[in-house]
Subunit: 312 residues, 6 copies
């Protein structure tokens, strides 16, 4: 589908304990899927855009689940079946307000991406190529794959979007900063948190301006409960967060990115994109789970116009 | 049972998703029952009054459930088994604070009430006949049945109570205002929200006074989180809402009406009735479900006297 | 998709009680979807064929669920959103071996099909048009729609498949036999049970031969735990049922049809088609639910080759 | 209600683990009620008879549950609220076929029955007074209460029915045989297993004949999977058990007794009573739980006429 | 294990309804264990201390569960199997904020403690003997056992800790004040609420000072949401409560005591002990259940350092 | 603990879908633990023996669960926390009789065992060192560790037990036969299936005799539903399997081994050992889950003496 989002990365199974407490006392578990890039793809599809996800999963039931869920969401998926296992996350709440996530992913199928996995035609016909700073941390070939896709996008004149998404555990034996800086330098659209901006650039100064100094023409700083600021084509923007009851903050950043990019693909201006991003992030935190709570357009309308809390 | 509440209407099965999210991701569902008039009947019975409910259900398991639940609550039920199906509601939460209810009820058994369904003796011996503005919207014969019962009550000198309960979806092909106004005109006791008062009377003025101008000697304006105001035998009343954590606002209005009418049947004065109404409504919103959370007298005492939150 | 299955009919929400016992004592419920024609479409898709389903659902969450589930299964769906509600089924087990299903469907969206709902191009490019004897019982316009689609298939030289699927409750005010006989007469492929053959033709004689006498060149008699017999291009076939533990027999007939038609679309001969049909039906009864248990090709291999019951 | 069943005894809360395995690994529990006499009362009510239960429960939520459940079943209950706690049973499956039940009942409210708890008018107007050999084992005053009620029935010419129901654990510090023999001697209708007959009478001989020798004119020997034999007004009867899948055998004996007594109250002859008893017992074992699976008349018809296992 | 905590008392099964509402509408139940003294023992073990619990349970599955859970927590347990049943608690929420607990414990195994149950060697080698004011209320022999253990501790120079833990229902036929005062007099460390101090000493004055006047050198006044005050070796302390979302306040007092005593056993000073006590109590209220939510040292660090609410 | 079982290997988290069907339609999941060697250790402990398990787990919640479960079972565990993740299994039923297990274990903590992980003192004081053919397949260092432990046992005169336990997937890039033959050669006690004997020795001949020819003095051939044969100190034995309803066959082989070794440690003769092995295996298959269903001595008595299926 010409002009849509194309993204690549690792999607894992997500085993989440019901209720509050250690695994031993959990009464039941849900089994979902999660991954920053597929979350963005699902988010864009729910908001009416077209989206393609590229990645590897194992020849196991978790891999089957990932394929079916993406198809159910209307995301085109180029899924390569790999001889390693599909990575898994195990999530539980230690208290009402304290989530804990373990990653069982080292050596997983998803980390074994290679440049040849990326269909050249898909990138060429994309409206936006979106990548994150997670994928280059997964393996050497995954890193190559990200940069290979970015080069292919440049060659085809396709906009490159990067969510810095620094995960300290994944980079433990490798230096993240130069890689992430390199990635930012090659992007037109960049999303980062204030801490991530410091990680890439060292401390000091205005994060949006400094990241924009590396090249990107659109820099959006996600600042959680405080909202966001942005420097877009030289113009500053700031949007406050909406007040909602937080059920599960995981996935909110991806919802935010999906909101921004879906509106950008649909031709909306910077203010509209940021408003949609903020609303999508707010909606996502009111749900348990990673991608199940990504909003549709009517969901966002309901959120914004709710005068009472029953829709009949 | 001489002197109790008699009411009639449609009661449906209520399929409610556990947790938050779309039907697809719900992990389980509860199957209860709901209906404005049977909610009021159950509420009155739980508060120690006698209550009778009249209505039609299908010859299906949902109809069986409705009969058993009402009997378990101590409500006398005149249940006519109809060849059409029992109506169903499907409820889910789109976010932590956003409920969505679908009605699968057009042409249901409950909508096929006819005047002959109403036992004349039951109305004659009632303390109060209570009807709502929902039933006249269900079908032509249901509308006739409501007005037939009201006439029978008038003839027997029985007090008529009306909860305006405007549901826009049910009236889509019909004009609600003249019917609801007609109903209010024939009542001694009227319950309405501020918007419903405007719907019946057009905009402007004090809702309680204007409704009282149509005839009723007791008008109670339910105003949700703001509490209620009333004009009872010419005297003004206002009671603030209690501060409670809202779990599910559906059914709070019915609990309020049950509290008021149970106290009225028990001979309590206006201030006591309104206090019980407010407390019952507050109790009901702290529960998921329509009628499962209707309070008993000890429940109301616990709510009002709770100094700590554990009763041993 | 040229050469695939095209089908049309009503798909409903399916609320199924966990465990055994009346609705009142059920601890939880599942919410799925079901419909003879969409079951066949899903079954064909799972077996690697292409499938299209055409039908109406309401503008409600159940309608959303139906759309998403079909998409997740890889079925192309032409879903018309109707102002009436999506039909619902309520299923529970009265004992370990006694299922009970109520239909809340009269006047539902699904019954309001009209001939214009059927995309002419879809029928023209189909490999098989499959219809059932359920749809003509739903309403006058639904009946017209079925015959309209059959005529369109004839005009385009597309094979017509009919599953007689007689449901006594739906025909209570109408005479089923002439309509079903009319449908059989216009089909090339017919599926029926022995009782259904008698219903269409009156008692006596060999069901397959007598149905074939009406015109169809392929008649398959599904006979549950006894297996099936068939008369295909003048040749007799008989296949025994597989011995499996029956968990839920609902949906087995649709799985059987899907197995036969998927193989027929793939160019397999009569014996292979019937073997796949028998295996698919056997697989489906080992699952609770209507369409969740429809098998894939690897599932059928596992079933047939299972020497122990753990696959690692 | 003149002419119905009147019974008295202890009803307890029943906490039953889901699935198979020790309490530690159970994923959830159900909370029901159970008691031999209230099971019979519920069974009679479901089969269309009138039934009254008399007993003590604590001033606790379990006592509330017992009251509500009996009312929902249409059983008239004379429930005395006692200062002791309501007894509890804890049930789990050690394997698929091995149930284990613990009784937490010593000193419970239910064991504190006194003769004054029995309303004289209820016994006088009964069609049958039914008691079991469990109640005399609970306490000295419970024993007195049973014999007091039996005397009252005799005085009023009311038929006395006794289910021997020997529970070894309850009699550990007391000799059961003379008490149970005394009870049998005062009954017109007696139910016992072969082992119970030996316990009462010592080993040897035909159990039905020997029990009848003590006085009762109707003796029914329940022999589980083998069916039953009986000596009724001097005539011998034998009925085979039905073949069903056993899910939970607890409560089958009570269902059997309810079937026999309901038919007896309705004026049916011995063969019909025994047939209903056998069918009711067969139905009950196909359910988990004590009284939730007691059948209605339509349930028995379904069981007996089931030619396929789906009723639509 | 030399130098650890030794405690004795009653531990019961705890049947807790899921969700909100009466037992009848609960969808499921959890089965855990609870008891003030074993909660403290588990709490100390989780915080890295050694702990021993002494008590009686029945020869039933609930008794098995108690043994296994304590062993899983690393608590040494001297469990005497008694011929009476294990006591049970039944817990449900009447509303989101109103818990109700019933005790089914009169005459239970746990109430039948006798002095000979206490291994002399265990007390002699203890760092702290901890008892509560619950045990003396259970029975005459249980009261003797507590005082016997306290005397044994005195004789061996072991510190005695007392949590006053007044439970009005248990003392209904007996005067609590002199017994509890006697116990306080014999302790070095005392925990009490403000109301409990008044109960022991009569109204008026500063609770910590007045309790210290009876002899203890460490008095800690637990004041729920207001935090705590203490008089330790003549020095005053006050610590505010932490702000957390209260899920279930049951067990918070035991967590507090465990935090204080674990730190005292580990040689920490008064301020550290009180800080740990406050944090442990805060952690425990964010969990449903009695002892499942007792924190480990890493849990307390997470609670205190949480800057965002996801730990990865 | 002198004279007990010592074993080593990998224990994983086990995520198991409720009910039947693909992960997508599963309504919930359980989270347990599993591993052939820890299953045997738990089995021995439940049968009254002492048992020690040695292995590596990750620094994650799954690792915590493994530690707590083993402790709760009374197994001594030498648990090394590794920087890699704890391996996970994902299990679901494709049909009522078809289990599917995926292993997410490549590179897991458990595969990173090294010889230094094995405490020399534990092996020296063991009654039996038990290893399986799974561990040598996990990694080079795991293979060294197994042979290192076997050598240490030989040096100390400790009996070595080997369960061949061939898992084809683990050996895909390596030749299993010579390694497993080498292991068998060094054992006194060997357990194998008929297929495993062929794998080690090539086809032909009597499996027990041929394995005994490699050196072991006790060879037990587990043959599933057919029972077992053995050659023990030169004497032939054969025991039939018990007839039970199979719920989940996974873990039955480990239960069998635990039964044999527990009895051997307790000094029982060959016939008794094999009888216990057969009974323990039979008991385990009636449970879902890997180690939750391992029997205690009373469980085995219940299984063998069950005349009815309710124990009270």
């Amino acid at each position: 589908m010409s002009g849509g989002l194309v993204t690549l990365g690792e999607t894992m199974g997500l085993v989440a304990a019901d209720g509050i407490g250690s695994l031993e006392f959990a009464r039941g578990f849900a089994f979902g899927i999660g991954g920053a890039e597929s979350n963005v793809a699902i988010g864009v599809a729910r908001l009416g855009g077209s989206a393609t996800w590229i990645g590897r999963v194992g020849r196991d039931a978790t891999g089957d689940l990932i394929e079916r869920r993406l198809r159910g969401e209307g995301v085109r998926a180029t899924v390569i079946r790999d001889s390693s296992f599909t990575g898994l996350m195990v999530k539980h709440r230690r208290t009402a307000g304290l989530l804990h996530v373990d990653y069982h992913r080292a050596g997983s199928a998803g980390s074994r991406l290679v440049p040849a996995d990326v269909p050249a035609a898909a990138v060429r016909s994309a409206g936006i190529l979106h990548v994150t700073g997670i994928t280059p941390a997964l393996s050497g070939t995954a890193r190559e794959t990200v940069f290979h896709a970015v080069e292919a996008a440049h060659a085809a004149g396709v906009t490159v979007s990067v969510d810095v998404n620094y995960r300290s555990k994944l980079w433990s034996s490798y230096d993240a900063a130069p890689v992430l800086r390199d990635l930012v330098t090659r992007a037109q659209v960049v999303f980062a948190g204030p801490d991530e901006a410091e990680l890439v650039l060292g401390p000091g100064g205005n994060p949006a301006e400094r990241l924009a100094g590396l090249g990107p023409s659109e820099v959006v700083i996600k600042d959680g409960a405080r909202g966001c600021t942005a420097l877009i084509e030289g113009e500053r923007h700031a949007v406050k967060a909406l007040e909602v009851t937080v059920v599960d903050p995981v996935g909110a950043g991806d919802a935010f990115v999906a909101g921004y990019l879906a509106d950008r693909l649909a031709g909306a201006g910077p203010a509209a994109r940021l408003g949609t991003a903020i609303a999508a992030g707010a909606f996502a935190v009111t749900f348990p789970g990673d991608c199940e709570g990504l909003p549709t357009r009517p969901d966002l309308e309901s959120l914004l116009s709710a005068t009472d809390n029953v829709s009949r």
